[in-house]
Amino acid sequence: MAKKFVKAFAVLFAFSLIAAACGGDSDETAIENEPEVVEEEVTQVEEDREQGDATGEDTRDDMTAVHGGRLVYGVEADTSNPFVPYASSCAISCRMILRSVSDALFITGAGGNIVPHLVETIVPSADFKSWTMAIRDGIKFHDGTPLDGAAVAYNLNTCRMSPLTGPALSQISDVTSDGQSVTISYTFPEALGPAALNSSTQCGFMFSPTWLQTIASNPLLTAEQRATAAGNPTELVGVGAFTFKSYTPGNGNSFIATRNADYWRGENGITGEELPYLDEIEFVVSVDIQGRSNGLKGGQFDIIHTSNADEIKKYEGNEDYVLLQANDYGETSMYMLNAAQGTNPYAGALRGDPELAMDPLGMNSTNPMIHLSCRKAAAHSLDTQRLADERGAGIVKPANGPFPPGSMGYLEDTGYPKFDIAMAQTEMEQCKIDSGQDPVTVGVTIGQDPFSAETADLVVSMMDDAFGEDISVVVTPIEQGQLIGLALAGAYHVMGWRNFGGVDPSELWYWWSAYTASPVNPTVPELALNFGRFVDPEMETAMQGVRFNPDPAVRKASAEAVNRLFGKNVWNLWTTWTLWGLISSPRVMDITTFTTPEGTMTAPVVAGKHSVQQIWCQDGNCQG
């Protein structure tokens, strides 16, 4: 239930088939009446939070935006270096940076639909195996290279060829371009199409091919080209509202970008708008939430983000600061369990080794969590309501599955084990037999910030209360950035984690698919997006219903089936639904309000991420 888990490369695949296919015609997001009094606002937020649809919308009175100002954004981690999408383990802080220097092909609309942004129109072939996009004409990268079909194709191909992002794009068979149009071919009918390349995915962001060709790590380069490539993979050249100025890695250091006068939505651009308003934006890494919060109070930061509900709660009702909360499309906090054991015929079939062993080195064989009884025992012993109340300040809710309230697959009762010490002890007896251990020894890996560590203490104490001498829990704090590496390599037993944020369940297939569950082997790590490495044939069937069936009722039933499978097999120990908070000085305006050139409202906050082009400061001065 630790709060600040680095999210994996959320190469998130969007979303609803129909909405995408129709190209975003629906403009259902009428601006709601804004509550006028702060108290009402608070009440409203509380209600939204209960429903799971706190959107993080900036509902303050609209004033006329003014130009100028320098915004300092305190972000939670220095999550990627370099930032080039094909090589980046890009978590939320990194995504914010990408959003400042570039734009994505598509963007998530306010209703969860997909809205074209750099793309003008999108047309699928009849069999949905090939999609053709028309790119807006006249957009230029910061270095003057025009954004045409070839540039888009080049960007997509770098991602496809990269060992890091390639597997997630494995269904693309070919990308061709002609003038401003790009055609993407798939190996099987893809109902979503390239709409997946929206602002939630790092590969949706476009960067200058001229610049990419100077980067030595570019997988499209030949060996000779690589030898002479001298570009810096952190000095991003995108199409965005801000141009790269400087980047120094490390805690306390920052990424600085200055206003792009030639932004395609600016006064010199093709739309003739006035974006962006800020002169400069600086993302300062401040790993420690107390450091960020103190910095905000001390005036060193103008805006910070956090998923620490305890800290968010402190700002609630504080009129000195603006607090925006978002938990729709949100992630779930959990203790991820490594279930690698036996063989994986699914991934094995792809590799020509049907007997593919999941744990060839026996690294996970001592993990009791490979036994269902142990997983159940652990789940029964966790008082998630108490976790939500004491660690989440009561403003988050205990989770029972990967789908939060409001989501398609959400269920009141998923069959996930409830807090019940008697049941837990019964299961533990079975667990001791299954695992052959007494006491049962579990290693828990968590982030090293004090809050997560304290939460882990609470969890350990709950298990102690339930099992006493029967269990021995060893907690290991690790730096946030390291967690992802261990998860990918499978070098953990239990890990504090936060994941599965997304608008539609189909986006989440690769987290749960047996095809993406690679064996545990840190010496030859293979990309395993299914970090828990569970192989669940029923899950495969259920996910196909979600992904390929256009019937909403079937999709909903399938998603619920997925949810129940998680409840039944206890692949993860759920704790709470994640709540994101954006806290800023009141001078910072329109923090999450963003519309496309066509005037379509976009989703304010998607799993903590929001747009920055539209932000402005009162009197053109963010510090006051």
């Binding site: 270096n81 370099p82 890091l164 805690n251 306390g252 005036g299 060193q300 992802i484 790590p525």
Partner: protein
């Protein structure tokens, strides 16, 4: 030459101050600054006692070799495959082997050490594959805040310790002495991370109320580093709290030393002579008693660099300063052994040089020592 010899202490001190000022305004690479500092110190010592200084400087070479070896073997034994760490999760067996070859990890230990040392001697600390920058650049960048933090702390500590120590030594045994001594003893017992938290709570964050009285203030910033280039006052404001939290325990150490030395000095006959000449107390204290009482202080100031470096690491952590402590910390957690190796080597070298240097400075300030060392 005679003038030189007689005033060598002053000349060296002036030289040092000039170098430091030059370093801050003209911002040369830190290696130059160090070189200059060492040169000035060595010059002072050479003029005073060439033999001794030369011996000290030459004796640095084996020490530095030991340090480099220790650092290198420590970092080489780190668990996990460095190539894998560098390449990240998507690495294949071939690419790991290739990178290992490229980085020379397939070579025997001593070959690697030799190669590394060869590079280090010409100032090339290697390239960090994880931070993707030259390690020397990274250290140059991050050492500035650390050195500033250490320098300000040292200055603050001296500013607090010297008057307090002198007064306390002068008033030895009185109530004032006891109050000052016990207060300083208290500061000695407060760990700097606790002091940092307390200072932030009361002086930076605000909103602390006790019985309805607001005792929290928002006078000073609690996070971030502002370079000198962005404005002196802003820079100093941002550095004040970190420096203060680091300085207090040092101040306590200095003050206690100065106090006991002062008590000793004030008992010496030449102080009575000065008194009998009718000099004012202040003049006696500052012009006559301070200098002979401050030699231990100077030595200990050199030694305190070690604890300052350690303290700076924690202070940087609490105050989000992008110093060399953060650099090492990040490097360690990201298993970026090239960066850590370089940074630890630089810091240790800095530490040793400062230690030696404080010895030499001591010599320059107090030429009597030359004779003492002969007599001993």
């Amino acid at each position: 030459m005679k003038f030189l010899k007689r005033n060598i202490g002053r000349i060296v001190l002036t030289g040092l101050v000039l170098v430091i000022l030059f370093a801050w305004f003209a911002r040369p690479p830190f290696s130059w600054t160090f070189g200059l500092l060492i040169l000035v110190g060595a010059f002072g010592a050479l003029v005073t006692d060439a033999n001794y200084a030369a011996r000290r400087i030459f004796s640095l070479i084996p020490v530095l070799l030991i340090v480099s070896f220790v650092v290198f073997s420590l970092m080489s034994s780190l668990p996990g495959d460095p190539a894998l760490t560098i390449l990240g999760a998507g690495a294949t067996a071939e690419s790991i082997a290739q990178l290992n070859q490229e980085l020379g990890f397939d070579q025997p230990f001593f070959n690697r050490y030799g190669n590394w040392m060869g590079d280090v001697i010409v100032g090339d600390l290697g390239t960090s594959r994880i931070l993707r920058e030259d390690v020397a650049d990274g250290i140059s960048r991050s050492i500035t805040p650390t050195l500033q933090l250490m320098a300000y702390s040292l200055i603050l500590a001296v500013l607090i310790a010297v008057p307090a120590g002198m007064y306390s030594g002068y008033k030895n045994g009185t109530r004032q002495d006891r109050i000052i001594s016990y207060t300083m003893l208290g500061f000695l017992a407060i760990p700097n991370f606790v002091l940092a938290l307390v200072l932030v709570l009361f002086l930076a964050v605000g909103g602390v109320t006790i019985f309805g009285v607001d005792i929290g203030f928002r006078w000073l910033p609690a996070a971030r580093y502002v370079p000198i280039g962005a404005g002196w006052s802003d820079h100093l404001k941002h550095m004040l709290l970190p420096s203060l939290s680091l300085a207090m325990s040092q101040a306590a150490v200095f003050m206690r030393l100065l106090r006991s030395d002062m008590i000793g000095t004030l008992r010496l006959p030449f102080i009575d002579l000065a008194r009998s000449k009718g000099l004012k107390t202040g003049r006696i204290l500052f012009r006559h008693a301070l200098r002979p009482s401050s030699f231990t202080l100077i030595t200990v100031m050199g030694l305190s660099v070690g604890s300052l470096i350690g303290g700076a690491l924690i202070t940087e952590y609490v105050f989000t300063l992008p110093g060399v402590g953060s650099y090492i910390f990040t490097g360690i957690f990201k298993r970026d052994f090239v960066a850590v190796q370089g940074a630890v080597l630089v810091i240790s070298t800095l530490f040793i040089v400062v230690l030696t240097f404080s010895d030499l400075l001591y010599l320059a300030l107090d030429p009597r020592l030359k004779h003492q060392s002969e007599a001993a």
